[in-house]
Symmetry: D2
Subunit: 115 residues, 4 copies
């Protein structure tokens, strides 16, 4: 069993044990994801790009906690919708690789990197 | 190699091949994540909770694409910060399991489910 | 002087008095806005649509505080970019009114309301 | 009548004319706000802080459009909840001015500026 499947199972059991499944509609989970990503963004909002790349231990721990929350909700939402997250990410990368030919886009400061 | 590691490697190569690493600071990636989660939320914003659980094929495909983008940026950000996303999620679940004893919280409509 | 201008002035003085203007780049303020909207969304994430329309005093106070933060950052960002928020909103409404003719869209459950 | 009130009235009439009020629950409007703020953030995600302060005409127009959408939904949400946005922002500023004494916080690089 893949690591994401195991995490999805654990999220499901966590919700069932507390009779919280009715709160876990895709609509609500998308909101929970937005809330947690908001907390993640707040960790970086006043930092310079360079500072964001050199977080101290305390800041890294806080960011790690937010990333944990984001991942948990993302996996739970995908599980309810029957979406394979990694497959979906690879499919988007396939598109992006087709659309952004390295020969044309390499080093181009003008064209901002999409995914 | 785990599936998330493979995805992280592919994201890294994608960025390197186009000389886009300088755009991928944690600050920028957190923003990209917020942008994609915004697109995901928009897919559900006018739906009722029940409609969000019964998406048709077209809507599911659109949501799947957004989930793919969210996953790609999340994995890229975690890779740059040296964070193991699944480990971080399990750690947050450990905390939540301790804090929300099923015996006390089961079926409780008053206490909304946090993570 | 309009109420938004007065608020923008107060935000500017608040930042200047603490020598915090260098933190208030549009990039950072957009992130701060995302962080605060995340907190706002979190207030509603586990509520049913009906519950969200009938908040008790405590919940209304919390939501009001988040709306205050969102407004403050929105006004500050617009001030730095020289954007008239109300004018911009009216212009978007003009577009939407042209695009979504009431005769065609009234009561239509199929077409979700965009702005 | 203040400019925000006039905008709120216009938003209300826009929704009523199309029979879209049932979509405008506070829960849904908070999501719509998150979606639009996500689009705003995406305009800045690959820019350096300096670039974000020197947007060209085209970029400014796009950002202005997103700010218009954000403002429209914010005003609509506040109207439904009976919240005076500007009053709420001033109240948060009162708190922040008390908490962050300029004498103590001026020029401090260590303490990131909260609101």
């Amino acid at each position: 069993m893949g690591e994401l499947e195991r995490l999805a199972d654990r999220m499901r059991e966590f919700a069932q044990a507390r009779d919280w499944e009715r709160f876990h509609t895709p609509k609500n989970l998308a909101m929970a994801l937005a809330g947690e990503v908001g907390e993640l963004v707040a960790e970086f909002q006043w930092l310079t790009p360079a500072e964001s790349s050199t977080l101290d231990e305390e800041a890294t721990a806080r960011v790690r906690a937010e990333l944990g929350d984001v991942t948990a909700y993302l996996v739970r939402l995908a599980d309810l919708l029957g979406v394979d997250l990694v497959r979906a990410a690879h499919d988007k990368l396939d598109e992006s690789e087709r659309r952004y030919d390295p020969g044309l886009y390499r080093g181009s400061a003008r064209k901002a990197p999409p995914l």
